[in-house]
């Protein structure tokens, strides 16, 4: 400090005053910014030159000698953020500045390839890219390992992150910290990664980077000075991000001399070449022709091709410890390359990396073709889609009301939403999707029952399987920890909403003068259908929400039946919490009575728990239903109408003497 001060003689007399020291610090940082701006300009010109060189030989694929990159000159990092805070824009900018892609509009959002992801502003399927960066005369290999952008995919995020040694945590300078920011921060923090906060969109009119820096300090205990202010859109200060990646993210602590050990952090399915597994090498090397083994499956494969991603595939001969790339090894389906699995050489077995677990579905929904004649086409579409998404579980199901279909398990609501959109957009499939349900559990009450069911704790995903209370010690329901960040104007309403969803508040913290972070433990079932939408609408869109798995808790669960004129309708049975039975029963009876058409006699719609009726609606009978006059022999329209009604009757399910249209089941089972 003394040496820095000495060139500015004017400050020497004040050397002992604290205020002078502070002033000095501020000035130093200011000067640093000025310096960085100059450097950025210089680097950009150089980058443009590189682009020019690249375009002149665009048709020629680059080949890379990966042996030139020892672990100490490798940095593996990820970008994590809340939705729409600029992760993709920053990723694009980094790719441009390092020459991985050309700076043109047609490459916009290169890393986000799926249409649904563009529409929703999220990244679900990760796309990885290797960047070559000149720093202090040396070439560094920077592996940007993209991660799913939503906590429904927290397992996948954690596996991608475990392939990294550091992350860039992006926060929008206007919006500040949001719920997903917090969720993703803790994933990285718990994995003990280096965390570099990046405050993006500083160019916006309402940007307030100081406020966001304070938030980051308050919530994450990261000093303000460690934040980098950028505009990814304009490229402002992005060069500094690259420098900090090299400086602050440690190289992978791995050795080429060790046996090969590769972590699968992503996989996709190519129809011509089979499964493409993205791997990070935690030791040794792997080459084309090698025989590798999946630790989870115990199955061996031969490496047909491997290389790096930029983000397109660039084959190489070998990948070395610390590096990140892809492997094609004759795997026939995505489940043969499960995320989190460990790959090793056939002749050199190694201990599997920690943390692997198969995907565990937390939300289930029935899926049925709109018309049974579309069953085959829908099955084909589902098979293709699940080839690329091993997180979806699928089993055949059938419903008396809706016919033959499937019951699909998803990681969470967003996963379900994204999957359904892909199904419709990519395969033009029109489907009925029933309201999502969660997997409950029951602890069986006796050794005899345990023997009968095959296990002590059974999982229930269909109300028809709900075991009677007499057989059960206790029922369990899945729980989640939810994080809500909101302006403090809305906390009262939001707390009321959460309490109404049986939420238990864990804490409430002001992250700055006006924004509050609240944590609640909810039963998953309470938030699975419409909680997010209600939260958004009551906070004028300002509140953000994210959640993570919090295990199972004992709960007072009951099965509720619905009866039409005294006859139970199996397809309508639901599992609800005892406290919610009355209001749920009443709401469903109302929906049913609105969707079942009037008939020639009165219909009683009832909700029942066991033999006790807890809610009832009545559908009035027709009193008159005949067109009073036919004119001049013109009965064409009349015949058309009557025959259409007759045709409609065929599509109804007959329950006793009541015609129940498919719509009635859909309106009750389908999410709104």
């Amino acid at each position: 400090m003394m040496s820095l001060l000495r060139p500015h003689g004017l400050f020497l007399p004040f050397i002992k005053r604290l205020t002078d020291i502070k002033v000095c610090r501020v000035k130093r940082r200011s000067q640093g910014c000025t310096y960085n701006i100059t450097v950025i300009r210089h680097r950009w010109m150089k980058s443009l030159g590189s682009v020019r060189d690249l375009s002149s030989s665009a048709t020629e694929k680059e080949t890379f000698d990966m042996s030139k990159f020892p672990a100490e000159r490798i940095r593996n990092f990820s970008i994590i953020a809340h939705i729409d805070h600029g992760k993709s824009t920053l990723a694009d900018r980094l790719l441009e500045m390092t020459g991985a892609i050309a700076k043109t509009a047609s490459n916009k959002q290169v890393l986000d390839k799926l249409q649904v992801e563009r529409e929703r502003g999220i990244t679900v399927k990760a796309q990885t890219a290797s960047l070559f960066y000149q720093h202090h005369g040396q070439t560094y290999l920077l592996n940007l390992i993209d991660t799913p952008g939503h906590v429904d995919f927290s397992y996948e995020v954690s596996r991608s992150i475990s392939a990294c040694q550091g992350v860039l945590l992006i926060v929008d300078a206007n919006q500040g910290i949001q719920a997903q920011t917090v969720a993703n921060f803790y994933l990285a923090f718990e994995a003990q990664l280096a965390i570099i906060p990046v405050i993006n969109k500083i160019d916006l009119k309402n940007a307030d980077p100081e406020r966001v820096e304070k938030q980051i300090e308050t919530v994450f205990d990261i000093p303000k000075e460690e934040c980098i202010r950028i505009s990814a859109k304009l490229g402002t200060n992005v060069e500094q991000v690259l420098q900090e990646v090299v400086k602050r993210i440690p190289p992978p602590a791995v050795r080429v001399e060790d046996p090969f050990k590769g972590l699968v952090f992503d996989s996709t399915f190519d129809h011509y070449r089979g499964v493409v597994a993205n791997i990070a090498l935690f030791g040794g090397r792997v080459s084309r022709g090698d025989r590798i083994v999946s630790a989870h499956l115990g199955k061996s494969f031969e490496v047909n091709e491997l290389g790096i991603l930029r983000p397109d595939q660039h084959p190489t001969e070998t990948l070395y410890a610390g590096q990140v790339g892809y492997v094609i090894a004759g795997m026939k389906e995505v489940k043969e390359a499960q995320i989190g699995d460990t790959l090793y050489l056939h002749k050199q077995p190694v201990e599997a990396l920690p943390g692997f677990k198969p995907a565990k579905p937390m939300v289930f929904a029935g899926m049925y073709p709109m018309d049974q004649s579309e069953y085959t086409a829908l099955r084909s579409a589902l098979e293709k889609l699940t080839l690329n998404d091993s997180s979806v579980s699928i089993q055949k199901d059938s419903s008396l009301a809706l016919g033959a279909g499937w019951r699909l398990g998803f990681l969470g609501l967003l996963h379900m939403e994204v999957f359904n959109q892909r199904l419709e957009q990519e395969y033009n499939a029109s489907v009925i999707i029933t309201a999502p349900t969660v997997p409950y559990k029951a602890v069986l009450a006796s050794a005899k029952l345990i023997k009968e069911y095959g296990e002590e704790v059974i999982t229930i995903i269909n109300p028809a399987q709900f075991p009677d209370k007499s057989k059960v010690l206790e029922y369990l329901e899945p729980m989640v920890t939810g994080t809500i960040i909101t302006p403090d104007d809305f906390t009262g309403k939001i707390m009321t909403l959460c309490q109404g969803r049986r939420g238990i508040q864990k804490n409430m913290v002001y992250i700055d003068d006006h924004r509050v972070m609240m944590k609640y433990v909810f039963p998953l079932n309470e938030i699975v259908v419409d909680f997010y939408d209600q939260l958004k609408s009551m906070s004028s869109g300002y509140a953000s929400f994210d959640y993570e798995d919090a295990g199972y808790e004992a709960a007072d669960l009951i099965k509720m039946d619905f009866l039409l004129n005294g006859q139970p309708v199996e397809e309508l049975a639901v599992i609800v919490h005892k406290d919610k039975a009355y209001s749920s029963g009443k709401a469903i009876c109302e929906r049913l009575s609105n969707s079942i058409p009037r008939q020639m006699f009165e219909i009683a719609v009832q909700a029942a728990i066991g033999s006790k009726i807890i809610a009832r609606e009545t559908i009035k009978a027709f009193r008159k239903n005949v067109l009073a006059k036919c004119y001049g022999g013109d009965i064409t329209r009349k015949m058309k109408l009557l025959k259409k009604q007759a045709e409609g009757k065929k599509k109804m399910r007959r329950i006793g003497n009541i015609d129940v249209p498919k719509d009635a089941f859909i309106s009750v089972l389908k999410r709104k």
Binding site: R623, K624, N625, V626, C630, G633, D634, T636, M639
Partner: protein
């Protein structure tokens, strides 16, 4: 065996369009009575030859406002019928009448032209309702017209009256019926106001400016009418038609019994076998809607038929059921056998669980006489028909009889 049919003639013109009306009607600025007369005669002749009908059982002039036509036009058409087929002097010839003073003044001339029955569109005995409906007559006009018609054709005057009008209550409706009974003849046609898309009244109700009675009230109105009319000696012979002293409409009965009818004039509908073209199956025919176009077509080809659809066997039986069950007597076994010699009512419907359910619910009766609705069933006919049509289809499907047969 004489080939029989009834004849419907459509006169498309009105002076103005009522607010509830969606019929094929036009407001003519330069009506050419001579041209219309020639074309109606021409098309009548053409279709009589095409159908090879030898006996016309009844004639009905509907509209529009056929009472705006010249009596000479009516006479000319009837003369053409007489020339080309057998039209008995006793055959029912009905004219729909709009009860304006002008309409009333020409009733006598129409009877001289050959009309022997009038159907008078009274619609309501409430001045406010007539205004809402956009009628161009008053209550007094209507009463005077009915009175005049009864003098000219005693026992052959029908009155049309509407219920479920905006703002109408059950008691108001009952009072109106009782007033009507003082002046009417031996036939009454009831009909419920139905809101047709595209009409002025539909828009007024949709916008909330007017409101019509709900389902419950409408049902009570209908049942009130049935009771009041029955107490006055009227017999309900069809969903909306009541007669005393056997003054049943022969023309309408032809429709409900599934008989052939020939439709002449713009927008008229017909059901007959075109024997003259070598046809062997009944067709559903619709004449060209627009009078100008229709005239051109008749002048160039002798007829203006816009659409012809062959009715396959199953479709014909469907129409027999839909129309027949509107009658109080329903469909007798003899009636059904005329159309379905290969399968009787008991065979088609007797074993069906759904039909048995309707019988058990006392809506439908299938016995030695035939198939018919009970009083409760008649009121809910449009709920019963889809089930019946489905059973008919399943029966023929199970027997492997193809629709095209």
């Amino acid at each position: 065996h004489a080939v029989e049919a009834s004849l419907y003639v459509h006169w498309p013109y009105c002076l103005k369009r009522c607010s509830y009306c969606n019929f094929n009607k036009y407001i003519s600025r330069s009506e050419n009575h001579d041209t219309m007369t020639e074309c109606l005669q021409k098309e009548t002749e053409t279709l009589l030859k095409l159908s090879q009908v030898s006996r016309i059982t009844s004639v009905f002039f509907g509209g529009g406002t056929p009472s705006l036509a010249q009596p000479s036009t009516i006479a000319a058409v009837l003369e053409t019928v007489t020339k080309n087929s057998n039209l008995s002097d006793l055959a029912e010839v009905t004219l729909e009448v709009n009860p304006t003073p002008a309409g009333k003044a020409r009733l006598k001339d129409f009877t001289l032209a050959g009309v022997n029955r009038f159907s008078i569109g009274v619609q309501s005995l409430n001045a406010d309702h007539l205004r809402i409906l956009g009628r161009d007559h008053s209550v007094q006009h209507a009463l005077q017209t009915v009175s005049e018609a009864r003098k000219l054709c005693p026992g052959r005057v029908s009155v049309d009256i509407m219920f479920a009008l905006p703002g109408q209550s059950v008691s108001c409706w009952q009072k109106q019926l009782e007033e009507l009974l003082y002046v009417c003849d031996d036939h009454i046609s009831l009909y419920q106001l139905t809101l047709e898309r595209g009409t002025q009244l539909f828009k007024q109700v949709e916008s909330g400016k007017l409101s019509v009675p709900g389902d419950e009230v409408t049902a009570i109105m209908y049942k009130t009418a049935c009771r009041v009319l029955e107490e006055s000696g009227f017999h309900q012979y069809e969903v909306s038609n009541f007669a005393r002293n056997n003054a049943v409409s022969e023309h309408n009965m032809g429709y409900w019994r599934g008989h052939q009818y020939i439709g002449v004039g713009p927008g008229a509908h017909g059901r007959f076998v075109p024997h003259g073209d070598g046809g062997v199956q009944r067709e559903a025919r619709t004449q060209t809607l627009e009078p100008d176009v229709w005239i051109k077509e008749v002048q160039s080809r002798g007829r203006g038929t816009r659409r012809r659809i062959t009715l396959h066997h199953l479709q014909l039986l469907e129409e027999v059921l839909v129309m027949g069950l509107r009658m109080n007597e329903g469909i007798t076994h003899q009636h059904w056998e005329l159309f379905s010699p290969e399968a009787n009512l008991q065979q088609v419907f007797g074993k069906s669980a759904n039909i048995q359910e309707l019988q058990g619910g006392r809506f439908l009766i299938l016995d030695d006489r035939g198939l018919r609705c009970s009083w409760e069933g008649l009121v809910l006919l449009d709920s019963i028909l889809p089930t019946i049509l489905l059973e008919l289809e399943m029966f023929f499907h199970s027997r492997g009889i193809k629709r095209t047969q």
